[in-house]
Amino acid sequence: MSIPIPDTTIVDETPEQGKGVGKLDRLDRRAGALRRTTSSKSASIIAIVLAVLWTIPTFGLLVTSFRPAREIRRTGWWTAFSNPEFTLENYSDALYGSSTDFASYLVNSFVITLPAVIIPITLALLAAYAFAWIDFRGRNILFVAVFALQIVPIQVTLVPLLSQYVNWGIDGSFWPIWLSHSIFALPLAIFLLHNFMKDIPRELVEAARVDGAGHVRIFFTVLMPLLVPAIAAFGIFQFLWVWNDLLVALTFGSARDVAPITVRLAELSGSRGASWHLLPAGAFIAIIVPVIVFLALQRYFVRGLLAGSVKG
């Protein structure tokens, strides 16, 4: 059995690696077969039309974010091309308009997000494994309960949680933010990862068991490598949710020292909304990092569930 840490697995699957090529060929053939399910010309047209439709609103906002306030109110953004009048002022106001350094918000966002992604995914993976592959009494009831708790609105948890954090004396630091994000992510993470895990063929797990592997070894050597795409997919979702969160940060990270970017963006328009013209620029500043992360990670899951093909 190869060394099962996820990193190597990923490397294994990049096309440059000798081992990956054979797999890819096979996948290409199969994908070709699937693609022929619809005639590819009309498919391409649908794809292009949808992609354009999907992007127009964001594109409009991007153009708007470079226009002076007066022009925004007077004419539509599409007229900006025939009569170009652009400014960088919205961006400089959004970035440097506050007494607090924008970079420190960015740092806080990173510091908040990383543990708030790693911790819940790890815990959820372990729990999902228990629900999928360990037989114990009350398993289904517990699983359904966890699943159902997704619906608890975060707002009702604020007071009970914050009271505890105050008791423990950790309010206003990063710790309650990490802890809270982890808690709120768990039900959905367990539900999604459990569904991926349960699809893994029983024979694989049984074979390892026959080899004398315990649960811990099976989890790390058999399941983890197969779950890399699922983990990457959920990882990026969790990243986006945490990165875009305002409520948790506002409630538990009250102090300016730990406030993430969203807190700054929420106040961009000023107390009475008078600086509404900064919102488009602010929205763009906020999505730059998630988009970079997405583009960097997408090959792990957009390029497909390569590991999943072991099933075939």
């Binding site: 506050s98 409630t251 009250s254």
Partner: protein, 467 residues
């Protein structure tokens, strides 16, 4: 930062000097808690004589939680700097637009701030009722200041069941109609001084613009979850004028029902403007378009010459400079505001306004000292100096010459002029279920789906909490 104890001058003079010096100090030390300042001008001394009463608060910290964010928050923090310098205390400021939702959460969790700025007396009342042990009565020093520097009515807004819980902070004036002086001049229109003249002017404008593209009025009441509040301001202003301040007080305190005939008359008057297809909604569309137009943008058609008048508070001036920094907001400029006229020019003139209030959740000496400072003329003057536009307080000793924008000066004049009768924004005083609930939603429906006057008033009356 050097501390100085120059010879004691006359109180106001010292404050002015302190204020002027402050402007330089600000560049020197920037934001107080994060040291974000970049200038390296030499620190100028602040006259600390007026601050000696607060004692030495070296190493003490006061946390402040407010609704005020962004540049206005920076200006707030700048106004604390003389206090911080002279007493050695540190003010930890935090502003959030989710303040109303977050403050109760913090109170219940045992992590209330030392000081909070409450934007509505109605919210203050419900906080005192819901968390009687958390909010503390105002300390002696601050309470005396309120008696000295503010009128009786401002003390009343902060009083719940006979106890003073909150001291006044900033103020704004809402009885304003924004217009373009140059457009008025061009068309030969005079500023109306009575309600009848206002209606006559509106009719004149309709007559002068037969194509119907240009209308006398423009409005917008969109404001996210608070959509509808500008319409409630309209209504309150008109109740003050048609029914008078006494009836207004009874209405706000629910001593007369919300659907009282006198209130119905007022609503009908508002309707004669806001629901008059000939009068609205300049530059945007028909009556119902008022409901989906953001209030921040409601007056903008004036700049394009598509509408002549927009009723909105003094703080709307910030929106003009957002639209175009070159717009001159002055009596002889591009836009300015005139007093929303009453029944007659000579009688008592009602003035609608609003403001924030300071409450404390801790009685440590530094917290009490800071609250007292916020009620002092020193603070009001420091704040005026730090704020280029869009701020005033009702402090009698505020040095008017420090107010930097013409509309702030006009607001302060009206606020301190005895011929004007001030009343606080009614929806801010009513219980949240009405003042931040049904009043907003029903006024929105009144405009959006042409709900009838009676149905609107009956629905609001029915929603008034029983207890």
């Amino acid at each position: 930062m050097a501390r100085s104890t120059l010879s004691v001058k006359r109180r106001t003079l010292a404050a002015v000097a302190g204020g002027a010096a402050l402007a330089i100090v600000l560049t020197a030390c920037g934001g107080s808690d994060d040291g974000g300042g970049e200038g390296d001008t030499e620190a100028a001394p602040v006259d600390c004589a007026a601050y000696e009463q607060y004692g030495d608060l070296e190493g003490k910290t006061v946390t402040v939680y407010t609704t005020i964010v962004d540049t206005e928050a920076d200006q707030q923090q700048q106004s604390y700097e003389p206090f911080e310098e002279c007493t050695g205390a540190t003010i930890e400021y935090e502003g959030s637009k989710e303040f109303e939702a977050q403050l109760p959460v913090r109170i219940q969790s045992g992590s209330a701030p030392d000081i909070a700025y409450i934007p509505q007396p109605g919210f203050l009342k419900s906080l005192v009722q819901d968390y009687p042990d958390a909010i503390l009565p105002v300390g002696d020093a601050a309470s005396e200041n309120v008696d000295t520097y503010y009128t009786e009515s401002w003390r009343d807004y902060g009083t719940v069941d006979g106890t003073l819980y909150a001291t006044p902070l900033g103020a704004n004036v809402k009885s304003f109609v924004w217009y373009s002086p140059s457009m008025f001049e061009e068309a030969g229109y005079e500023i109306p001084t009575t309600w009848d003249e206002l209606v006559a002017l509106s009719d004149q404008i309709v007559e002068d613009n037969p194509e119907g593209d240009v209308k006398p009025w423009c409005a917008g009441i969109g404001s996210g979850e608070a959509t509808g509040w500008p319409a409630t301001d309209w209504m309150e202003d008109v109740v003050l004028r048609t029914a008078g301040p006494e009836v207004y007080d009874q209405w706000v305190n629910h001593e007369i029902p919300f659907n009282d005939p006198q209130i119905a008359d007022a609503l009908a008057s508002v309707g004669s403007v806001l629901k008059n297809e000939n009068y609205v909604n300049g530059g945007i569309g028909d009556v119902s378009s008022i409901a989906t137009t953001e209030f921040t943008e409601g007056g903008y058609p004036i700049v394009d010459g598509l509408c002549y008048m927009h009723r909105q508070a003094s703080f709307y001036q910030a929106n003009w400079s957002t639209l175009d920094p070159d717009l001159k907001v002055a009596e002889d400029g591009d836009v300015f505001a005139f007093y929303f006229p009453g029944e007659s020019a000579d009688a008592e003139k009602p003035l609608l306004g609003g403001g924030e209030f300071v409450v404390s959740f801790a009685d440590r000496p530094e917290v009490q000292a800071f609250q007292a400072y916020l009620t002092s003329p020193e603070w009001s003057n420091a704040k005026a100096t730090a704020t280029p536009q869009g701020w005033l307080s009702a402090n009698k000793e505020l040095d008017k010459s420090l107010l930097q924008s013409p509309i702030d000066q006009l607001s302060y004049e009206l606020l301190t002029d005895d011929s004007y009768v001030f009343r606080f924004d009614g929806s801010d005083m009513m219980p949240a279920a009405v003042g931040a609930g049904s009043f907003w939603t029903e006024m929105t429906e009144w405009i959006a789906s042409n709900k009838s006057d009676t149905a609107v008033l009956d629905a609001i009356e029915a929603s008034w909490p029983t207890s």
